[in-house]
């Protein structure tokens, strides 16, 4: 398997607090990897380690299958936390600094990039007078300089208006689709993330608790009929024999989730009752993506 990023047991400790705890992440080439976690879960710290801004206390990582991180980081574009911008300069000057530092000979690249992120009309306006969204766009432009193969974006749509969010989403999808750029992206706006992510990693209290593909997520969030019964084992047998239902599971004692025959749930209910099962509850359930993440992260608001 070709990975853009492959980490093994990355750990970061500040004082006595383990912020990132043995994270082994696998970002396949071409993926848009949605990195999800509450505030303080360790997302940003982990991204900073990958970008070389912070050193891990333990663990190792490979970028594009290579351990020569300094070399491979030249293929990365990053936007972590606030974009790093010179407030007293114009957008053009900021990009000119980046162009020079990256040794890009073509001077037109700056104008093209400004056009690309919709900041070509900012003229002599100083960056310190930009809106949050404009700064964010400029930060994205900096990350995109020198056509990176791997983008690391920490909350890139923060501060953007709905139109801006859509533009960034479309831009990232386009970059991924047309240029095969791998993207590691964290966002609190899970609905937006779910529209573009092809795989997910969920971090909780510094621990990467799950990694899965977007297709898996869809199956995890399937609609179902939830039955709360007194005897799940006998009820399961009745569902199989009388209702010919095979797709169900028992996630916890006394609870059955039925995934097929949802339109005929009344038949299930009737059969269970007629066969002496004490049916306490029967309802149509299903999670949206946000609900699923909330469950995984412990139910609290992911602000």
């Amino acid at each position: 398997m070709d990975y853009a990023l492959n980490t093994d047991g990355i750990t970061k400790i500040y004082g006595k607090h383990t912020v990132v705890d043995h994270v082994s992440m696998h970002v396949k080439k071409g993926d848009i990897y949605g990195f999800i976690g509450k505030n303080g879960a360790g997302k940003t710290t982990f991204m900073r380690i990958v970008a070389g801004l912070a050193a891990p206390a333990a663990g190792s990582m490979e970028l594009f299958g290579s351990g020569d991180l300094e070399m491979q980081r030249q293929r990365i574009g990053t936007l972590i936390e606030q974009p790093g911008l010179y407030g007293t300069m114009t957008a053009r000057d900021n990009l000119e600094v980046v162009r020079r530092s990256l040794g890009i000979a073509r001077k037109q690249t700056v104008d093209e990039m400004l056009e690309f992120v919709g900041l070509s009309q900012t003229g002599k306006k100083k960056v310190k007078n930009f809106s949050l969204g404009m700064k964010q766009r400029l930060g994205i432009a900096i990350a995109l300089f020198r056509s990176p193969d791997f983008l690391i974006l920490d909350e890139p749509i923060n501060g953007l208006d709905p139109e801006g969010i859509k533009e960034v989403r479309d831009l990232l999808s386009k970059l991924n689709r047309e240029k095969q750029i791998t993207i590691l992206i964290s966002s609190h706006i899970l609905g937006e993330l779910s529209k573009i992510a092809t795989s997910y990693g969920i971090i909780k209290e510094g621990v990467l608790i799950e990694e899965f593909a977007a297709e898996d997520l869809e199956s995890r969030c399937r609609r179902c009929v939830k039955l709360v019964v007194d005897d799940a084992q006998r009820a399961s047998a009745i569902l199989e024999e009388k209702c010919h239902i095979t797709e169900f599971d028992v996630p916890e004692e006394g609870v059955i989730r039925v995934f097929d025959g949802l339109d005929n749930s009344w038949i299930m209910n009737r059969e269970l009752v007629e066969n002496g099962i004490h049916l306490k509850e029967s309802y149509l359930a299903g999670q949206d993506l946000e609900g699923y993440f909330m469950d995984l992260l412990g139910g609290a608001s992911n602000d």
Partner: protein, 279 residues
């Protein structure tokens, strides 16, 4: 490295604060000359003592052969004004502010992330920052020296100006530029260690103004052992640099002390930058 330098010099060129700092320094030179002229006028009784807050003590100007107090400007000459500017902290304070802004804003604005995240070695990034800082210091001090010399003509008159011992002036400026390089490295180290603009400027100016008091205290402590730490602290040399009769011992010590402090500050700065996380 060349790319990084190109970006750093571009930033330097675009920094309005640098130009303002240089203008302020030039204005200070003008003010200093103005003060000296006022002292002369007060001594000559042309204006009252205390005018515009300038108070001249009775023995401020030594009596010349004619019995009238000698002109202060005549007494100190161009090199005396240079000594006031360099040794009297005027240049040092402004330079501390300029270097701190240039170095620390990379951390406070987060722009350092753009370089570190692109795979450049920390050593290359720090070195690429240090070279323009040195250039900034040298250009800044040269401009101050040039302005001081040029303003000497209108304020002193051509005759007195032409009588200046230019060899001494050149040696003095050369020494100050050399000290300036070491001092810039120290300011840069302070900036790297603090990574906070207010703290960086405060510590740099504090070191400039009070470290010489500390070394004077150390001189007293080590008096019995005949050791004078102040002779080996670059900021003491900035203040104590003679304007005439430069001894070979002083010249050699100046070169060695400047080089050693430059290397210590640069090495510590690189080490700290390599070992600490970038916020």
């Amino acid at each position: 490295m060349i790319n990084l330098l190109s970006a750093e010099f571009y930033k330097l060129r675009k920094s309005k604060g640098i130009y303002i700092g240089v203008l302020v320094a030039a204005a200070l030179v003008l003010l200093l000359y103005g003060s000296l002229v006022m002292i002369d006028k007060i001594n000559q009784g042309e204006i009252a003592n205390g005018t515009a807050g300038v108070i001249v003590s009775p023995n401020a100007g030594d009596a010349g052969a004619s019995g009238t107090p000698q002109s202060m400007l005549q007494e100190i000459g161009v090199i005396g004004v240079l000594q006031q500017m360099f040794g009297g902290h005027f240049v040092g304070i402004i330079a501390a502010v300029l270097v701190s802004i240039f170095v620390i804003r990379e951390h406070s604005a987060g722009t350092i992330k753009n370089l570190v995240g692109k795979g450049y070695s920390r050593f290359a990034i720090f070195t690429a920052k240090m070279i323009p800082v040195l250039m900034l210091m040298l250009v800044f001090e040269s401009v101050v020296a040039l302005v001081t010399i040029c303003l000497g003509i209108p304020f002193m008159g051509w005759e007195l100006f032409a009588a200046t011992a230019w060899e001494d002036v050149v040696v003095y400026i050369g020494l100050q530029l050399m000290f300036g390089a070491a001092v810039a490295a120290i300011y840069m180290l302070v900036g790297e260690l603090t990574r906070n603009l207010a703290a960086g400027i405060s510590v740099s100016i504090g070191a400039l103004m009070f470290s010489t008091t500390l070394t004077a205290g150390l001189d007293l402590v080590f008096h019995q052992m005949e050791i004078e730490p102040s002779k080996y602290w670059v900021l003491d040399l900035v203040a104590a640099c003679p304007t005439v009769d430069f001894s070979a011992e002083f010249l050699v010590r100046s070169v060695l002390v400047s080089a050693v402090w430059f290397m210590i500050a640069a090495a510590l700065g690189v080490l700290h930058f390599k070992r600490t996380d970038v916020k």
